[in-house]
């Protein structure tokens, strides 16, 4: 099975993961280890000066995971660019998951601001991974301004509704020259497997693993689903047919009984 390459970095796992929503830092780290994910997202926030927060960086780095800061909280291109610059300092990486959502209710990504920010961040030397609607035109534009991949959504963030955007994802996958990572809405391992089967290069999963009753077991289930999905894609799925096609030869050998 082939590996996925983004900006010359090769990932052995096509399962990318988020670190949010876990009951504890220990559960999060154990689950991500079980997932065998090699790319994990993090957020930035203003430091809480009253309370020390869990140090999650060192355990993640010790596992050899690549850290991917996001620009969560940014509502405009200007804010996202600032957030990316801060993240570059905080995590010493020029990789950024660009996400801009002005609306806190549905967390819909703002495509216009995302394109503006992406273009500027590419110029500033960032490896830009933009989270966007499953909009084939926008994904093409993002590729043209130099994004190293695109991250279209399957369905709203945290909704567990799966690949509601499938027909559009298929167009994006068909015409993209950069890796396509399905992000958001993947609620079950079968959703992840389907994304890989239809040719997505990777998926990003957070909520479905974090809120499972047993996050570690769910992480393993996702790990296997992603492998199965990719393997099936590379093996070449059979065409769908309306009519039945027998798997066994239809011979007349029972005819003597009638």
């Amino acid at each position: 099975m082939s590996n996925v390459v983004i900006a010359d970095h090769e990932f052995g796992s096509r399962l990318f993961t988020g670190t949010g929503k876990y009951a504890s830092a220990e559960t999060m780290i154990a689950s991500l280890v079980a997932s065998e994910s090699e790319l994990v997202t993090l957020s930035l926030r203003r430091m809480d000066l009253q309370n020390n927060s869990d140090n999650i960086l060192q355990p993640l780095q010790r596992q050899g995971m690549k850290l991917l800061p996001n620009t969560s909280g940014a509502r405009t291109a200007k804010e996202a660019i600032f957030a990316a610059q801060l993240a570059r300092e905080a995590l010493q990486t020029n990789w950024v998951k660009l996400e801009i959502h002005p609306d806190p209710r549905y967390l819909m990504p703002d495509g216009m601001e995302t394109l503006l920010a992406a273009e500027e961040l590419v110029k500033q030397g960032f490896v830009v991974m933009p989270y966007v609607h499953a909009d084939p035109v926008l994904c093409k534009r993002l590729e043209e301004v130099g994004c190293q991949c695109v991250m279209p959504l399957g369905s709203p963030i945290g909704s567990n509704m799966g690949l509601a955007s499938r027909p559009f994802l298929e167009i994006i996958i068909e015409q993209s020259n950069v890796p396509v990572i399905v992000d958001a809405g993947i609620g079950a391992p079968s959703d992840a497997a389907l994304a890989l089967e239809i040719g997505a290069d990777a998926v990003l999963v957070n909520t479905a693993m974090a809120v499972a009753q047993d996050p570690q077991a769910m992480a393993q289930a996702f790990r296997m689903a992603v492998i199965a999905g990719r393997m099936a894609y590379e093996a070449g799925l059979g065409e769908k047919q309306v009519k039945a096609q027998a798997s066994s030869p239809l011979t007349e050998f029972l005819g003597a009984l009638s």
Partner: protein, 69 residues
């Protein structure tokens, strides 16, 4: 070095002993890995923390990495 400086830190008035950004961080005694700092709307790279002099009323924001999707 013993003079106190009053700045705005994450939108709160804050006093510390010293002059530079690094003095402020040492005074806070917090984890210095995985953080980023902006002074007066400009991101200050870690290599410049020791050289960045704050003045009375400087607007300082310190950000930390947290879990997120």
């Amino acid at each position: 070095m013993s003079e106190r400086l009053t700045i705005h830190l994450n939108d709160q008035e804050h006093q510390f002993v010293g002059r530079t950004l690094q003095n402020l961080l040492d005074d806070l005694g917090r984890e210095q890995q995985g953080i980023a700092i902006a002074v007066d709307q400009q991101v200050v790279p870690k290599s410049r923390w020791v050289h960045t002099e704050l003045t009375s009323g400087s607007q300082v924001y310190i950000f930390e990495s947290i879990a997120g999707g």
